[in-house]
Symmetry: C2
Subunit: 374 residues, 2 copies
C-alpha cells in the first residue's frame, strides 16, 4: 500500500551527487528528478501518458496561471488539478510569486503580499502567503512552495538582504497557513534566497531549516547571474541544507546545468526549456542541441536518436521533422517537444545510474564532452 | 497474402447506399469511407497511429503542397510519402489542380496545363497532366487523381462546358502518363465535372467511363452551390457511373452531407472539416456540433462522448477542453481534432452497419434528427 506520508530517502552518493527517492501519497519520485512544466494544466503539446511513459514521475504546475484560468475554486469543484489534466502522479506547484514579480508595471509588493493585475484581462488580484497556500491546496498540489520574492539580478547587497528577509517572514506565514489547510501527505518546501551573497544564503538556509520544512528549494538563481556564479552559489548553499530532505533548484536548466547541479547535491529541477525549444524546432540529443529548421536536415533520413525508447525520437526522420517545422505543422512541435522531454528523462536516468554505480564524475565528464560536440 | 491489384467489391446496398470494399496493395478500404486530410504529409495535430486507431483505412494528401515542400524528387529519395509520414495504409492524392486553380492572380491556365507561382516563395512552376501524375508516382500514392479543372460556381453553361471538356482532354493525357509511369496495384480515378448542369455531367461521365478508370471522382461540388443543388447533381450523376467501381465525392463535408451523399451512392469522402474545426475549438458529436469556447462548458465535467472508444472524446472533461481552448494550448487542438476524426470514423462505421442490415433510410432519418438537436 502506498504511504500516506511525504518522505525522502537518500540511497547513495557519488561525490556530491545524491541518489534518492521522494515518497508521496501519489507515488514515488526517483531523484535526481526533472519535472516537466505543465504551466496551464498541460505539459505543452504532450499527452499526459507521453509524459509518464517518457519516465517523468512528477510534473510542475504554475499557481499564477491556474489562479487566473480556470480559477482555483472552479478547479476544486471539478475535482482538483490531477483529475482535470489526467495526471495521477505527484504534482509540485510554485507559489505564484515568481510570475507575479515578473509582471513589471502591473504589480506592487508590500509586506502583506503582492497586488497585481492579470496579464489576460487586467482584473485586480492580491496574492499573499496565505492565499498562495490556499490556492495550492485547492489545486490539490502534492508539493507546495512557500510564497517568496525571487530576488532579481543584479541587486545590491541591501536589496538582496531585504528581499531575503521578506521571504523569510512570508515563509513563516506560508507554513502557518499550510499547517491549517493541508491534508495528509502534502508537503511544503521553504525557498532559500539571498542572491549571490554567501552570507545571505547562509542566513536564509539556517532560518528555514529552523522552521523545519519537508524540503528546500533554491530560488533566485538562473536569473541572469551566469552559470559560474550559479554553480558557486549552489556549491556554498547545498551543504547548509539537511541531508535527509530533498533539494530543488527552481527553473533550471540546460543539460549541462543539470549535470553540474547534480554534482553539487541538487535533487529536483524544473524548466520550460525542453517544451519551449520543441515548439521552436530545437531538439536536445546526446550530441548536443540541434536546430531542425536547418537545411542540412532536409535530406537526413536518420531519426533524432535511434536508440531511444521514445517513438518521437526513434521513429521519425530528421528530414520529416525539418519538413514539419518549416511548414509550421503542429505535429512538428508535438514530436520535438516529446523527444525533448524523453531526452531530459533519459539524462536523469543516466545520472541516477551513474550515482548508483559511484561513477558520477566520469559520467559527467564524458557526457559534458559529448553534449558539447567534443 | 495481400493482393497486388486494385479492386472494388460491392457487398450490399440499402436504397441507394452502397456497402463495399476497395482493395489496394497497402490494405483494404471499407466503404463508405471518410479519408482524413493529411495536406502536408500530416493529418494536422494527430499522430499517425491515432488516425489508424480511430478507424481510418486511408488518408488523403495534397500534391500541390507536397510538390512545393518537401518536393516530390526529395520525397522519392527519402523512400516515398508512406515512410516519410509513417502511414503504411493506402494514400489517395489529389492532382494539385484544385489548389493551383485557387491561386487567384498567381496562376494562368492553358491547354497545356497551369503555370503558377508558389504561395510560399513566389517561385514559378508548371503543372500539367503528365507532371501531376509523375509527382503522384514519386510520392508513391496508391490512388491518384487525373489532372482536372475544378469548375468554379457560379459559372455560365458555356464556361462549365468548356472547363469540363478541358478536363476530359486532361483525363486522356493523365491516363497516358499513368499507364507509362505507375506500378502494380496503383489506381487512377477520372473526375466527373460539369457544374450543376445535368447534360454536362452526363457527357463527362460517359466520356470518362469510356476511358475506363479504376474509380470515378465527382468534382466541382461543395464549391458554393448549396446542399440542395449538390445533392440533386449527385442523384443524377451516380447512376451514370459503373456499379463495380468506387465513387469519390471530393472535399465533402459535414456529417449531414455525408449521410445524404451515401444515400445517393457515394463511397468515399475527404474533408478538412474535422481537423480544421478541431483547431478552432469546435467538436462534432452525435448531438451536433458544439463550440468548446462557450462559457457554459467551463464547469461541465462530462466528456465529449462517454461511449466513444477514442480517449480524447471519452476521457477528458468539457471543462478541461474549454480551459485548453481558452488558453490557446496546443493540447486543446490535439484532443478536439482527434475526437473529431474519431467521430467521423464512427459515423462511417455506423453507416456501413446500417447498410449491412438494410436499414439505411431509418438510420439516416434518426441520425439527422439527432445531429440537428431534434
Amino acid at each position: 500500500m502506498m504511504s500516506r506520508r511525504f518522505g525522502y530517502e537518500l540511497k547513495a552518493t557519488s561525490g556530491g551527487a545524491r541518489l534518492g527517492q521522494v515518497t508521496t501519497p501519489r507515488g514515488v519520485i526517483r531523484t535526481p528528478a526533472f519535472m516537466p512544466v505543465g504551466t496551464a494544466a498541460t505539459v505543452k503539446a504532450l499527452y499526459p501518458d507521453q509524459v509518464r511513459d517518457a519516465g517523468a514521475d512528477v510534473i510542475l504546475a504554475n499557481t499564477y496561471h491556474l489562479m487566473l484560468r480556470p480559477g482555483p475554486e472552479r478547479m476544486a469543484r471539478l475535482g482538483g488539478l490531477h483529475d482535470f489534466m489526467r495526471w495521477d502522479g505527484p504534482i509540485l506547484t510554485d507559489s505564484g510569486g515568481f510570475q507575479v514579480m515578473s509582471l513589471a508595471g502591473l504589480r506592487k509588493i508590500s509586506e502583506k503580499g503582492v497586488s497585481f493585475r492579470s496579464h489576460i484581462d487586467g482584473s485586480a488580484h492580491l496574492l499573499t502567503p496565505k492565499r498562495s497556500i490556499e490556492i495550492q491546496c485547492l489545486l490539490g498540489s502534492d508539493i507546495q512552495m512557500q510564497f517568496d520574492e525571487c530576488t532579481p539580478f543584479p541587486a545590491t547587497r541591501d536589496e538582496a538582504s531585504a528581499s531575503m528577509e521578506l521571504s523569510l517572514r512570508w515563509a513563516e506565514r506560508s507554513k502557518a497557513a499550510f499547517t491549517r489547510l493541508a491534508g495528509d501527505g502534502q508537503a511544503l518546501f521553504g525557498i532559500v534566497q539571498g542572491g549571490i551573497h554567501q552570507d545571505l544564503r547562509a542566513r536564509s538556509a539556517a532560518a528555514l531549516v529552523a522552521m523545519d520544512f519537508s524540503g528546500y528549494s533554491i530560488g533566485g538563481l538562473a536569473v541572469g547571474e551566469g552559470q559560474a556564479r550559479m554553480l558557486a552559489t549552489l556549491a556554498q548553499t547545498t551543504p547548509l541544507l539537511p541531508a535527509d530532505k530533498p533539494r530543488y533548484l527552481m527553473g533550471v536548466g540546460t543539460p549541462l546545468d543539470l549535470i553540474e547541479s547534480v554534482a553539487r547535491g541538487v535533487d529536483m529541477f524544473d524548466c520550460v526549456m525542453p517544451t519551449r525549444s520543441g515548439r521552436h524546432g530545437q531538439a536536445f540529443t546526446w550530441d548536443g542541441k540541434i536546430n531542425l529548421k536547418n537545411a542540412r536536415f532536409a535530406d537526413d533520413p536518420a531519426p533524432l536518436a535511434a536508440a531511444s525508447n521514445c517513438p518521437a525520437a526513434r521513429d521519425y526522420s530528421r528530414a520529416y521533422l525539418n519538413h514539419l517545422v518549416k511548414c509550421g505543422e503542429l505535429l512538428g512541435a508535438m514530436l520535438i517537444s516529446w523527444a525533448n522531454i524523453a531526452f531530459y528523462q533519459e539524462l536523469m536516468a543516466a545520472m541516477r545510474a551513474a550515482i548508483h554505480e559511484d561513477r558520477f564524475a566520469d559520467f559527467a565528464a564524458e557526457t559534458k564532452a559529448r553534449l558539447q560536440g567534443a
